[in-house]
Symmetry: C2
């Protein structure tokens, strides 16, 4: 095993992604914030964890990204010491057509309704 593969993070394959886990991953305001941000980057856009200001400790932030990764919502790949994150939009759209877009729309509607970003 090379040092590169030793630093590969585990992801569910497309067929292993479960709706319940995706909904759980998206049921937290901070995780929704991460997904909302990554969605603005376009289909293959990616960003380091540090690009998203969650105002929590590093370990809490790492936890939220891990929940999203393990549910199959995001892909995380090391680049140097940083983890780069991108939405698994194609996988999610293939398994659950329209789901991610509808949830992002619902999130945007709620942000507008509450007028405070939440």
């Amino acid at each position: 095993m090379t040092s590169t593969s030793a630093r590969e993070l585990e992801h569910p394959q497309c067929g292993e992604i479960r709706l319940e886990a995706v909904l759980h991953a998206l049921s937290d305001p901070m995780r929704l914030q991460i997904v909302r941000y990554l969605a603005t980057l376009g289909r293959d856009g990616e960003a380091p964890c540090s690009a998203i200001d969650l105002v929590v400790t590093k370990s809490t932030s790492t936890h939220h990204f891990r929940v999203l990764r393990e549910a199959g919502v995001i892909c995380q790949i090391y680049q140097g010491t940083a983890k780069m994150n991108r939405l698994r939009r194609e996988d999610l759209d293939e398994l659950f057509p329209g789901l991610l877009g509808t949830i992002l729309d619902a999130d945007a509607a709620q942000c507008r309704r509450l007028g405070d970003g939440h």
Copy 2:
């Protein structure tokens, strides 16, 4: 307070329903099973808790219905000693257009894909 109102259960008003709570409520296989069943009853269809065979203890079943009620996903009203349940489809569709339908479609797609009712 009449004995009837004393037995009224608390529900969030439409404007108090939050996306995160709805997604959390739907992130459990048994709660998805309840919602899937109620959705088959049509727009104003309702059913007692006992109509849905969850194969769990009464207290666990009661917990799952309560999570759905407190998130604003279902309405529960006493009729005699039974609680009647119905989906708050209109409220959810008003707040989050398409969300409930898309999640039910995703659930149906997953059931077909896994071929085991989950």
